[in-house]
Symmetry: C2
Amino acid sequence: MPVPRDSRAIGVFDSGLGGLTAVRELCRALPGESIVYFGDTARLPYGTKSRDTVTRFSLEIATFLVRRNIKCLLVACNTASSYALESLERRLEVPVVGVIEPAARAAVAQSLHGRIGVLGTPATVASRAYPDAIAKLAPGASVISSACPLFVPLIEEGWIDHPVLREIATEYLIEVRAARLESLILGCTHYPLIAPLLHDLLGEGVQLVDSGAEAARATALLLRERGQLAAGPARHQFFLSDERIHFQRIAESFLGHELPAITVVDQTDLPWFERPMAIRESGA
Amino acid sequence: MPVPRDSRAIGVFDSGLGGLTAVRELCRALPGESIVYFGDTARLPYGTKSRDTVTRFSLEIATFLVRRNIKCLLVACNTASSYALESLERRLEVPVVGVIEPAARAAVAQSLHGRIGVLGTPATVASRAYPDAIAKLAPGASVISSACPLFVPLIEEGWIDHPVLREIATEYLIEVRAARLESLILGCTHYPLIAPLLHDLLGEGVQLVDSGAEAARATALLLRERGQLAAGPARHQFFLSDERIHFQRIAESFLGHELPAITVVDQTDLPWFERPMAIRESGA
């Protein structure tokens, strides 16, 4: 009997380019799968914005991807996963995988005494999504969270080896380093790019959990269980809502190899950019 | 004969809260004027985004403000002034004042030998709006520009007195300090908050030009010339497109006093957020 196949693409979205770390992991685990990626570069970052706004942006992007006939949606953005996952699950017919539960599960598995740290954006930390997910999996675990709002701009500027980043990280990690952690969740898709620095500050005994990679593995598992794997050939499509300064450098640092062609979506292509002639109506 | 009066409000917009420095200056110069302010906190920052996207956002916000019956528009955002001013002037019937020309004029007036520096976002610097404006006013002037992408996130995080800010500023200012400047344009509404640090690094001989304050003065002059000043009482309205973490602290640091009530605009209130049922149409 032939194995069931589903040649539809996997949808992946992020506020920007950080979600390409999850794409890299997907390509590694499932080389036959096609991917449709959306990065909301016109409105990034999400990590300092409110639950309502992040949920609205996420629903708009999910709509865009669902119309491209995806078989499941990977929400690579930690902030969107923290704030919008339930809304997405409620609205979409395809299964939705966020980063929170897979990363929490990996952290719990690597923490014998349940001492877990979380680094994230202000929004992800404020949402308490990680502590809540960990409490469900390991009720006795203790979780220390630290919001690291300056990591994303520093990484996007390419200051990964700059001494200033180490100074800022040292400050953000004060409580986390005092907590004798067993594992630390990198609760933002940008943070794996500074994993060497974090290892250096925390010591090799602390396991770093890459939330994007864990979500990619969870997606692979889900598709295998549902008999929805594709047989290839893989065809990837990348959409951004704005051109990006330093785009190629940033994208390649996340993806680890040269990026295929990108489409910057025109506003008229997008459900969420269609407006009933707002400008013309103004009389201005 | 009575002096002509125009009680309509002055519209002011910025990508976020930085434009409140211009509002402060307007209130000082023209205490009888009403102001309608819009801060695009859902989509900030603008300074790393493209000309097309910044122009589109600016037109949408201008439309929102024009519908609130403003008599002129002050574009407090340097990035929007650099990229979108011509489009706004072409589309709007009310006069539009940007920050570039007023700040360039002030810098030229304070630079006997025409040695002028500009600090700005990557977009403002890439646009060459300041060098072009200065060249028109003082063809022999020499202009040194430096993009300072990390200033805005550091200032928004309140790290104004943090040693890391000084380190980063020292790096950004290397060329500017070597140029024996007479004046330096603070080409972003956030930068006046770090004026003491910049003074310290550059020496008191360099005149700092506050672009938002200069634009506010140009607006006052324009209204006076057109006989469109208001007699009071002033009624201010503040709109944001998203709630903002640390909002009150940031707003008060810009405005210098407690902020009046804020309206976070609902998407259905806004021309530019109206979409023809994108989510429902998706079948998801």
